[in-house]
Symmetry: none
Subunit: 217 residues, 4 copies
């Protein structure tokens, strides 16, 4: 018997859930095991969450929430695009190192297995990022820091894609290995190199001669 669950206890429960879901995925994670690890009875868990799925979503919300908080902080400066980009990349590296579970949790819902609530979540989760990045890029276009013939939403999308994959590349077993296959066995210890090269990629991915570009169409 325990008194009403404290705020901290709730957090502990969610963190335990995140750990299990990140490691095993939704279906292989075990509610009874989570409850035991969190030091509560399954009963309470079911008092607060209707079923496994609801609990999973709560865990997901928490991990995404923390992620957004981190992003927001980085974003609130008023730097030039490239400086912002660098800050974000470093934040992503740092976050990936410290919050592996959160990222794997996020990765988990993107796979087909959780398709049921995936679409609804996407809107909720991605909106802030999409808006933020698109805003940055639009601003940079206005400021003349960036060419004007582009679609800021798509550029924001590509930018976020690069960051998303970078996160996964530090966290998921598969993507970590893939990272090494592409960039060498030591890449996971060469954060600075990754920052530098990704910034170069963003600066001018493939620097084609203007003429060539004109020709192309």
């Amino acid at each position: 018997m325990q008194k009403k669950l404290t705020e901290e206890k709730m957090v502990e429960i969610l963190e335990t859930g995140i750990g299990e879901f990140a490691e095993k995925g939704l279906s292989r994670a075990n509610i009874n095991v989570i409850a035991k690890k969190a030091g509560i009875s399954v009963g309470v868990l079911y008092k607060y969450y209707a079923d496994k799925e609801a609990f999973f979503l709560a865990c997901l919300k928490r991990s995404v929430g923390v992620l957004e908080a981190v992003l927001k902080e980085v974003v609130e400066s008023d730097d030039k695009l490239l400086v912002r980009a660098e800050k974000i990349i470093r934040a992503v590296q740092n976050y990936a190192r410290t919050h592996k579970n959160y990222i794997n949790m996020y990765n988990e819902i993107t796979s087909g297995s959780s398709s049921k609530f995936a679409p609804l979540l996407a809107a909720e989760i991605e909106n802030l990022t999409a808006r933020t990045y698109t805003g940055f890029i639009a601003k940079a276009m206005e400021d003349g820091d960036i060419r004007r013939d582009i679609n800021p939403r798509l550029f924001a999308f590509f930018f976020d894609n690069l960051l998303t994959m970078l996160q996964f590349s530090y966290c998921s077993d598969y993507y970590r290995e893939r990272f090494k296959v592409f960039c060498g066995a030591d890449i996971l210890d060469e954060d600075e190199k990754v920052v530098t090269e990704l910034l170069k990629f963003l600066e001018s991915a493939f620097t084609f001669s203007r003429s060539e570009i004109v020709h192309r169409r």
Copy 2:
């Protein structure tokens, strides 16, 4: 009783498996259901594959194999980098439309839940792509089509990341929704726009003034 399984039947079984695994993931997919859908008995399935996991891997191998074949075809030309990039992007769009399951299957293993064989698979699956892209970029550097102060392996990595996310964005429920959030509700019908903008992004992601770049370090 039925006659010996034909080659086509074997393929049908794998395709059924790919469909189920892509939709439900490894743990939620049901072997008995797969067998029923494929019109065979569980028995045969276990005659050909030691267990669920082995069958899953066989399905995965098949989907990856087809994917590689598509890539190889695109790659065998001797175009300039940008032309190649365009061909690949279009191939990816096309492939994503016709082989949703294969891509979702691939997405499934990248999530933490299948971590057991993920590391081994990464090496097997990504090697060809990694080498191919890295080769392209190195060649382009030699040819003077691209700036020379970059790391071709990392550039290949970023390039493949963009393509990977693009694939997912056409196939997974979650990523499709995210795609729309970022790029507008109609984006899934605007393939040409996606090609154009991604090529622009690759050409010069963020065209910073040279001076700014010089300043940065």
Copy 3:
């Protein structure tokens, strides 16, 4: 749902298991059937016992435990060897009548099919009996009740063999029939006769002339 399993319920479960295992053997006995017969769900069974094998061993331990308790009681007297032997024989007859399942359970592990844990169990189960009987016989040798040129351990072994087979002869379907083949259709109702003859056998199995024995070596 039911209340927590009582001590008696636990015993009932074990007894049900013993019944099934005794009748069908380890592999043919069905866990679901046992659970149903015991009036519990499979779930509880698996809560208390890791798997079928573990449950089987628990059943075995129980039946052996009860058997040992019976033996211990008989053995605590301080009679002459023959008197003890008689008491033990009668106890065996009595026990076989009331605990058929326990004996068949024991018989089950001695067959090759359960070989996996058989060796470990043998040490655990037989030690007490072996020591007890060997002690008896050694004591009788000291007391001059028995010839001194024998090996007490082997004599204890032969003695226990006779008792073991006697038990089986009252319990197992096969051995019961064999008993009748050897000793007549009514032998199962002639306990007194069995006691008398077995005691005679022990007294002097084949009374060879001394001279003959001397000759033999």
Copy 4:
């Protein structure tokens, strides 16, 4: 495709079956595995034997048949009881060493698991032995080699019990261990000692003073 099964092939099949049944028991032995090991198709097996059970019985018959043949040979001499006993004991030791499978096969049916046909088999299998031993003992009584106040059938029974347990003690995993527990770790290599002591046991198991015996009743 093969021509009609030869006599040798039939024997090979049975021997393979005996090996598997001896090792795994009736229910855990696998017909498909047996067929493969014997180098035939399951089809033929089912051509010759109605079902698994029928095949099991055929295997059993064969192993018992061989056993009887061995016994018969030993028995056909016209020695004194004790000499015969010694010959039989040695034959049993020898047979146990060379035909472990046959004995374990026999042991298998005596456990409750095969109860269905056990009773019928007992009559068939044990009759010869029972008669033979009983005959011996009756003869020895007539000849005055043995006391006259005994029941020859029961004595034959006890004698066979000792031999049966001796066989098991060389063959079954469990009984082998039990043998060591009773008689020491090296007992399996001390055949001569076993012969000697068992003969002593038969000669005069517990040599009680006549007076004591008289008193007892």
